[in-house]
Symmetry: C2
Subunit: 277 residues, 2 copies
């Protein structure tokens, strides 16, 4: 039995998969997985280390921590999947980026202009505002913005259940009849991905830094439009050129401008597409 013949035997064993798309995905997975092992001449010790790494990655995950998403993010897979599925969106539409591991559904509904701050972390007060538009420039009323970001201490609420209220710096907002949205928050901070798990260890032993550039997350949706998952990056942040999860796109970088004695102002429009492909 040669190595290549074994690969083809495994592929053939999947020929009977009833779902043709599942068959395609699984057969390609086997071919690429085997090609990797053959290329590097994977040793027994490396194989069992890999088994242990994956097991630990699953076991440290729970309802609020998703270490496999973190692994996918740090290996660039999440950004690649984003590119594959969104690169052909309508020109002019806001670019997408990764979801990240800290999204929590069912954030509180908040009114136009309301604050998401439920915990005094000493962060710089900021007003984020703008419009949600169709790619023809027409405002979209009643669009939904699901927003989440980290505290000035670097952590998301979901990471600090003993410290932050669970809904701190999370909220669901709607645009008004002119397609405008507005909310009050703190300036997001650069932060390292969690260092206490297997992915943090992998980042460490591969000589990489664990930092993400400062950003807030938003999912924007509206009837008849394609839902958008993206970030707003702070133009003054460190790590814009070396974000550890490869999430930065130049078009997503925005200024957080001083405004006298008032909050910082960050103005961002989100442009949706009707392209569902």
């Amino acid at each position: 039995m040669t190595e290549e013949a074994l690969t083809e035997e495994v592929v053939a064993r999947l020929d009977g998969t009833p779902d043709l798309r599942l068959r395609e995905v699984m057969q390609a997975l086997v071919r690429h997985l085997h090609a990797f092992a053959r290329e590097v001449r994977l040793t027994d010790a490396e194989w069992i280390a890999g088994i242990g790494f994956l097991t630990e990655t699953g076991q440290i995950s729970d309802d609020v921590r998703q270490e496999f998403i973190l692994l996918s993010d740090t290996l660039g897979l999440s950004s690649l999947v984003d590119l594959i599925n969104n690169a052909n969106a309508t020109p002019g539409a806001t670019e997408t980026t990764i979801l990240g591991p800290f999204y929590v559904p069912n954030s509180p509904q908040r009114a136009f202009g309301d604050s998401m701050i439920e915990f005094d972390d000493g962060g710089e007060l900021t007003t984020v505002s703008g419009r949600v538009l169709g790619h023809d420039g027409s405002p979209i009323p009643n669009a939904v913005l699901d927003v989440w970001q980290n505290s000035a201490n670097g952590f998301y609420a979901v990471q600090q259940p003993e410290v932050q209220p669970p809904t701190n710096l999370r909220g669901i907002f709607h645009t008004d009849q002119q397609g405008r949205y507005e909310f009050r928050t703190v300036r997001p901070k650069p932060y390292p991905i969690p260092a206490d798990g297997p992915v943090g260890h992998l980042i460490d032993i591969t000589g990489r830094h664990p930092w993400r550039a400062a950003h807030l997350h938003v999912k924007v949706s509206a009837d008849g439009f394609r839902s958008l998952t993206t970030h707003v990056f702070d133009a003054s942040s460190a790590y814009l050129d070396s974000d550890t999860v490869f999430g930065v796109k130049g078009s997503l970088v925005a200024d957080f401008r001083p405004s006298g004695d008032g909050p910082l102002q960050c103005s961002v429009d989100f442009v949706l597409t009707t392209d569902q492909s």
Copy 2:
């Protein structure tokens, strides 16, 4: 940013990995993982399904259940790693095969000819015997055979802590001064891999059967020789041609012969190599 440029950015981010072998493995892993996603045009829904599958695979694993090894086995990766690392062993040496997910270290030491049966499962009594030899044919005294197999009910002791004693059908034996070994057991049975986890589900939805051909496992070691991990397959077993983990090699198939009113007789020699490469 093109898909290929993203892949190369991730690869470049690993350039600083201090351990050169780790760098080689991680950069190849990223290239093959990305090539897979690009080839199948992995969708967001498929990506999150994969994250969920891997998470579940880690979480169902515990001290005595290793679902990631089972996944590796059923994708043929374990057999491929075995081929990569053992294909160049000395001609005439016993062939290796996979470890499987049910190995438990520290089996009880048992004397020459002793029984491993600690639970009456109605199986066919069998005597397994033979010699451990160097590839020049010289007997190896005091070689160690670490043996484990399933019960006639289909399960390994480690899978049935409420039913079987934990050391049932496991044992460590030594060869005598003539290189001989012998132990009493029951005839192993074909069995399905566990169906109640994510890997069992994957086998099901890919239209595969979950059965392994009947076998006993043995790890053979001796000072100055390369350790051997292999199986002895029952020549009369079903599934020799379609073992669901791709573990069968023709040279590892042995007869379980009737012997009057006595136990079945299975005679197998194990030939070790000094090749440590």
